[in-house]
């Protein structure tokens, strides 16, 4: 399969699926408290990114 010839959307979706599958493998080896800590860490990182993006949009609009 030549990925370069696939439309960008399909390539993007395939890459997302691969990423999720790798993460799932990682999750299977983690304990409950490790998973909860991972979720909290990612949640904090998400909040920081969203805040930054919305701030950038706000500044661009001024």
């Amino acid at each position: 399969m030549n990925f370069a010839e696939l439309p960008a959307t399909i390539t993007g979706v395939i890459l997302l699926i691969f990423r999720e599958l790798l993460k799932e493998k990682e999750r299977s080896g983690m304990s409950v408290d490790e998973l909860v800590e991972s979720a909290l860490k990612q949640t904090t990182a998400n909040e920081d990114r969203i805040k930054e993006l919305l701030e950038t949009v706000k500044q661009d609009m001024q």
Binding site: R27, V32, D33, V36, A39, L40, E47, I50, L53, V57
Partner: protein, 152 residues
Amino acid sequence: MRRQIAILGLLLLTIAGSACDKSKEFAKNADRIAGYVATGIDIAEKDLPSGSNAQIQTLTALRAVNTINGEITAEAKKYISADGKRLELTGVGKDKLLQILASGNTTIQSLLKNEDFINLPDEKRTRIMSTINDLTETFAVMVELVDAVKTK
């Protein structure tokens, strides 16, 4: 495929009936949701026109889902057993988690009805829809898991 995996996961959990399995599935789902939100942010940042209503609305909705998932996870953390292997929920804790989950589901459904989002070009909407569908299914699975966890 995710729906089938989620349903299969639920059936396996019902058969196994193990507190550890249900707790781990719950914790995995919390981590999955955080991951899906991160994916949604990637899509909003790269695929949606910068500063557009669609981008702002999507980021705002993702933020709400993220906050709710953070609340669920922080609440669940209080009930982790000493060995880190299972959740030991009380009746009050269970009710609290279910309330937070119901709120999360409402937030996701509101994004699906948002006109700025509905009017996006098919290609962009498809990628976001896939992520939102994953979120919806995962929240539904989490409700089932919390319901099934035995209380102390």
